[in-house]
Amino acid sequence: MGWFVAGLLLLGFSGVPGLFAARSGGGAEKLACLLVWAGAACGTLAVWEVLARGVPLVLDLPWAIPGGALALRVDALAAVFLLPLFLVAASGALYGLAYWPQRAHPANGRSFRLFFGLISAGVMLLLSAANSLLFLLAWELMALSGFFLITTEEHKSEAREAGFIYLVATHTGTLALFALFALLELAAGSLLFPGAGSLALKGGQATAIFLLALFGFGLKAGLVPLHIWLPGAHAAAPSHASALLSGVMIKTGIYGLTRLTSFFAEIPPWWGATLLALGILSGILGVALALAQHDLKRLLAYHSVENIGIIALGLGMALLGRSYGVEALVALGLAGALLHVVNHGLFKSLLFLSAGAVIHATGTREIDHYGGLLKVQPWTGALFLGGAVAISGLPPFNGFVSEWLLYLGAFRAAQAEDQGLVAALLVAPALALIGGLALACFVKVFGLAFLGAPRSEAARHAHEAPSMMLAPMGALLFACAWIGLLPQTLVPLLHQAVAHWGAVSGSAHLASPLAPLSWITALAWVLLLALALGVWWLRRRARGAARVETWGCGYALPSARMQYSASSFADFLVRLLRFGLWSERHGGAPRGLFPAPGQFASHTPDLVLDRGLRPAFSGLAWLFRRMRALIQNGLSACYLLYVALTLIVLLLLGGFF
């Protein structure tokens, strides 16, 4: 446990020395990076200890707060969430040295590092807390640090707005969590977390707990329709903060749901079905909204919604398996969901960091202003391509392995005799559709940003990112490739995590479905080698080939503006999905024999936030303004009337009771 606490303290205080250093000095940032690295290393050692020994690390200290106890438990379930945290925090800290150097950002560099360390420590504490009060404390620490990370660039109105929405959303969620833990305390008799499978709850109380958890944790995780804060917040934060927020922080919502459902001895079938439905909704709507975006970081943020949907699919499948007693489904669903948590942490951070490198070099987030970047940023481009292949769930990278587990679960559900499991079978076609749309989206991003001809001067004169930024991205891609090419190495971790979820026999059922992983490994290696060899051979054969202009059907003067744009690439799909997107389209086809210059623009606002909540809340605000004008009208006679009326009402009430 010593290593864990040391890691916690090192991460938490990594930004503090920098506060006493000069605003423009460069030494403190290196120290902070070093402290983050040391903290991550200590934490990794602690996790290693958990996995090697197979028993949770435990720390119990008295705490003066009533009902509170400083109880920490690090088990394999927490380890799954901790490992990506350490990797992402460490690579983000190194990346930040070049991306967000102190001398370029004297105003906010120091506070950024402080909150970067604090949020990492907050997540670490949250994942190990075994006491409701401690959990909530860590939750708030994480939430508030997240707010300050999002509003790092507070001089931009966009960042302030995103921060405000985030603050409202996270505190609404916290409110639900307060109620949730109060109910849990009533049921379990103490603020300490009950053991896995020990809570025999039925009826209204269990329903209330589950719905509160779904709301509170779902808001943090970004499940549709609770994802409102996510796209803006992730787009506004600096890229390495986005990586941490998107890769790690939103997973605490998933952790909360997983941990909470593990307490219950019995799971009603509708819990799993609800989570499945929300997962399908989040997955499809998330990727559809992503497809329609032109802002690189907003697009990546919407993909987090999609991936949270995929994770929810797995969790829902595991819950259904527990309701119906199908152990194989529990094992496959949970293992798939947990592996996807790790995977998404890795490839999403990689994508955010490489997006940061692109934004750093071109100064814009608009995909339509890039083009041809692979020539000027060959390494960034290759790393981004790796991330894109991984997030589309394609072999030979890691996204495929977790989706493979979920598919396997869905096919098992199809073969089971139980009628209630029909819902779990829908995972397969839903995942197929989500995967197809994600592929379309990442072909669009990679193709339009890195391939073709440059669409702007900024893209033509972009520069490759410094090695300080490339190295962390390389490490993340290496981790993605590791999981994709050697998935068996993660099997023990998944086994233990599934066992800790209260399905002890479930882990036994994981052995046979995971056996083919060695086949996948072998084929993935063959694929990788064959591709490398093929491309090498073709490049060699093509050496000295004639280099000409792209064939434009005889048109001799092509220009970069004639390329397909982000809008046009996604247009067909966006129009197909218009019932869920409601995109705005301006301009259109030029008409007539002698058409005037035409203009076309499309914009897709968020369905829930911009179409639902904003109009609703501004309507409410308008209503209250009108009411105030009516009631607070400045006439003392009216005010006296209110006093008299109140008195009469109170007297009447007094008469009744």
């Binding site: 041809g372 292949v389 769930g393 394609l394 072999p395 495929f400 989706e403 493979w404 598919y407 396997l408 869905a410 096919f411 199809a414 073969q415 029909v422 079978l425 397969a428 076609p429 995942l431 197929a432 559709l433 995967g435 197809g436 379309a440 072909v443 669009k444 193709g447 339009l448 890195f450 073709g452 046979s512 479905p513 056996a515 083919p516 086949w519 996948i520 084929l523 694929l527 064959a530 591709l531 093929g534 491309v535 054969r541 093509a542 080939a545 004639a546 280099r547 000409v548 202009e549 792209t550 064939w551 970069a560 004639m562 390329q563 397909y564 046009s568 690439f569 996604a570 799909l573 197909l576």
Partner: protein, 303 residues
């Protein structure tokens, strides 16, 4: 090992014959003599010896497209039984790998198309990814039906020896429905009329062909060869489903399988001859229709 080599040999040698048969069928329907059946082989040989012409805009991603397009069907074929000949490699869940390998090929073909910076090829890439993400759920539903009937999770089990009995049992109608759905998916994935026209060289009307406009020489040969392999691999699913007999004697089984493939090629030729291309906006409607038909098939076997 000998089995693996035979599998690959059959695939590599036989595949280019299928486009030849399709072309000959179409020519006969149009009252022409048509090119020789072995024309695709001659084309491949000629392209192999040719040099390259490359666009100035392109990068290494442009060469990745043809390579992936060739390697993926080869690898996918190893997971697939050729008729009654068992698959060389088979494990639980290989059907997902099978589907996702083709998705990988799509990713790189579309990326290679975008690498040229041509608006035509961008258009083709956009259409390709659009239509195939609509075809994917159909394929999954079809595989779910087969998995339910067979009780296994590998392609070998899905297309195993239980198929003749399944046709005879109550599951026959469901199998018939997914046979139709898979045929539609085959036409979409291999860019055939009525969804796409591999022959008109009018870029605006095409999906798949327009993505490869700028490829030349051996790279273009790899694309043609890869397309033929893909046709054979996806066609094998249909042939096995429609002609599920096992004689137990491998040469006879192989002949049934190859004969089935030739029949399929003739069928594709007939469809291409008697139908016009669909308008682009109709394509998604057809694909959503087949998804619904495959859902219906699933309901039939689940009830």
């Amino acid at each position: 090992m000998a089995h693996l080599l035979l599998h690959l040999l059959v695939l590599l040698l036989f595949a280019p014959l299928l486009p030849g048969v399709i072309a000959r069928t179409k020519a006969r329907f149009a009252g022409r003599q048509g090119p020789p059946l072995l024309q695709p082989y001659y084309d491949l040989l000629r392209l192999w010896r040719k040099g390259f012409v490359l666009s100035r805009t392109t990068t290494w991603v442009f060469s990745a497209g043809p390579v992936v397009g060739l390697v993926v069907p080869l690898l996918a074929a190893l997971l697939l039984p050729f008729g009654a000949l068992p698959a060389p490699l088979s494990f639980e869940g290989d059907l997902i790998l099978f589907v996702y390998l083709f998705a990988l090929a799509r990713f790189f073909t579309a990326a290679a198309a975008l690498d040229t910076g041509s608006s035509f090829e961008g258009m083709g890439a956009a259409r390709e990814v659009t239509f195939s993400c609509l075809a994917e759920p159909t394929l999954m539903f079809a595989l779910l039906v087969l998995a339910k009937l067979s009780g296994g999770l590998s392609l070998q089990a899905l297309f195993g020896t239980h198929l003749p009995a399944s046709w005879g049992s109550g599951a026959g109608p469901a199998l018939g429905l997914i046979l139709v759905c898979l045929f539609v998916v085959l036409l979409v994935e291999n860019s055939r009329i009525p969804f796409d026209d591999p022959n008109t060289h009018l870029e605006l009307t095409m999906i798949h062909e327009v993505m490869v406009l700028d490829h030349s020489g051996p790279a273009f040969g790899m694309i043609l060869y890869g397309a033929a392999l893909k046709l054979m691999v996806l066609g094998s699913l249909l042939v096995r489903l429609a002609l599920p007999w096992n004689s137990g004697f491998w040469l006879f089984d192989l002949l049934i399988y190859l004969g089935g493939l030739l029949l399929l090629a003739v069928l594709i030729g007939v469809v291409e001859s008697v139908m016009a291309r669909l308008r682009l906006v109709r394509v998604p409607q057809v694909l959503i229709g087949t998804s619904l038909v495959s859902v219906f098939a699933l309901v039939l076997v689940l009830r």
